[in-house]
């Protein structure tokens, strides 16, 4: 039976742009596990009330319900140990936490400064007030002001990817010769942008752009075929 994933969607239910849900989409594909996604909106809190919190991703695997992308990834690793490993051993599992912390802070902030207004644009109208209010409170300014200097801040964002770029100069993926959950963590941030905005986050000759392209093509183009922009 396929695993069920509650997956953040826009006004168009085919539009899936949550960076944390994309981590799990890629992780499920990596494990070769079938998935059925259910479009979910920020304000659909009752649908996931069983988790005791109000955010996706949430999975249902038979009778087991798991929320939080890290908890889901480690659940999948532990529950399906005979499938390809998401972490490549205990060291990778521990270090992926650091890579997640770097992505959640450095990468997500830089992406948000470029595309958060574009996210608001594609949301279901019932989600727009919630999103605007919660993000404007977090950022201390309007969504419009937060992205107003994106032509300049994108340069800082690209510079902030230095450790990723250096690593990709040594090996094709953060996971080594093949991608693993470390890659999906960071890649999720790029899917967040790709599926809501045509703003070019990366320059075409950036090794990070090539890495992103390889992950867009992975698993028969799972991510690359999703509704979004060609950037």
């Amino acid at each position: 039976m396929a695993i069920k994933l509650y997956d953040l969607a826009g006004a168009n239910p085919e539009l899936r742009f949550s960076p944390f849900c994309w981590r799990i989409r890629m992780a499920l594909a990596h494990k070769g596990l079938a998935v059925e996604t259910t479009p979910w909106r920020f304000t659909d809190k009752p649908a996931i009330a069983a988790t005791g919190q109000g955010l996706v991703p949430v999975i249902e695997d038979g009778a087991t319900v798991v929320h939080d992308s890290w908890a889901i990834a480690t659940y999948l690793e532990d529950t399906y140990p005979d499938r390809p490993s998401l972490f490549g051993g205990p060291g990778g599992r521990a270090m992926a936490r650091f890579i997640g912390a770097w992505a959640d802070s450095t990468v997500h902030l830089g992406v948000a400064r470029c595309v958060v207004k574009d996210i608001w644009e594609v949301l279901d109208p019932k989600d727009q007030p919630y999103f605007r209010e919660s993000r404007e409170k977090r950022f201390g300014m309007s969504l419009e002001a937060f992205v107003a200097n994106r032509e300049a801040t994108v340069k800082d964002f690209r510079a902030s990817l230095g450790p990723l770029r250096f690593t990709l100069g040594k090996q094709p993926y953060l996971g080594g010769e093949a991608p693993n959950y470390a890659d999906y963590i960071v890649f999720g941030a790029f899917m967040w942008a790709r599926n809501v905005s045509d703003f070019p986050l990366l320059e075409a000759d950036d090794p990070v752009h090539a890495w992103r392209g390889r992950l867009l093509a992975a698993f028969d183009g799972l991510a690359g075929r999703s509704l979004g922009y060609e950037v």
Copy 2:
């Protein structure tokens, strides 16, 4: 036979402060391998000419000579596979490269902005002109100017450690329940500062400070007993 390590030293040959050599000191201890260190100065290029380059760490393991801290760490892992693993599997080995890239850029820059003048102070006089000239060229300013605002830049440095601090809120080490090479990579930067300067890089209540303390105490206090400052 003990492995020989060429280890950067100050005017006082007991003073060892290279962040890259400290990575290897800790890695050798982790593997339980005996080491004999040879104090080496920046200008002692002939002593390591066999490596075809001019930087330490360099190890001699019998007839095998290896330079570059990453190459040495992977050599030790591959040559002594039955000893405790430095990476915890292939995933950790791949991801440690990213953590190294983050440390070499973010962490090292922040530390240098606080202590690079202190490094110059403790060098052997024969090394001082080389060090000043090469670093002032790299930084585009005098050593004095580079550290002039350290009371302010140390706050940026502490903020830049966010991903490390977050991870240490989830697990005791970057390597998980026990330290591994990911920890030694980052810890080396703190030894670089500790052994040349009494400038307080970390606040006493910072979880990073507690982590650093655990690593100073590791391996019977290998790092904590080394000549340096109690900060």
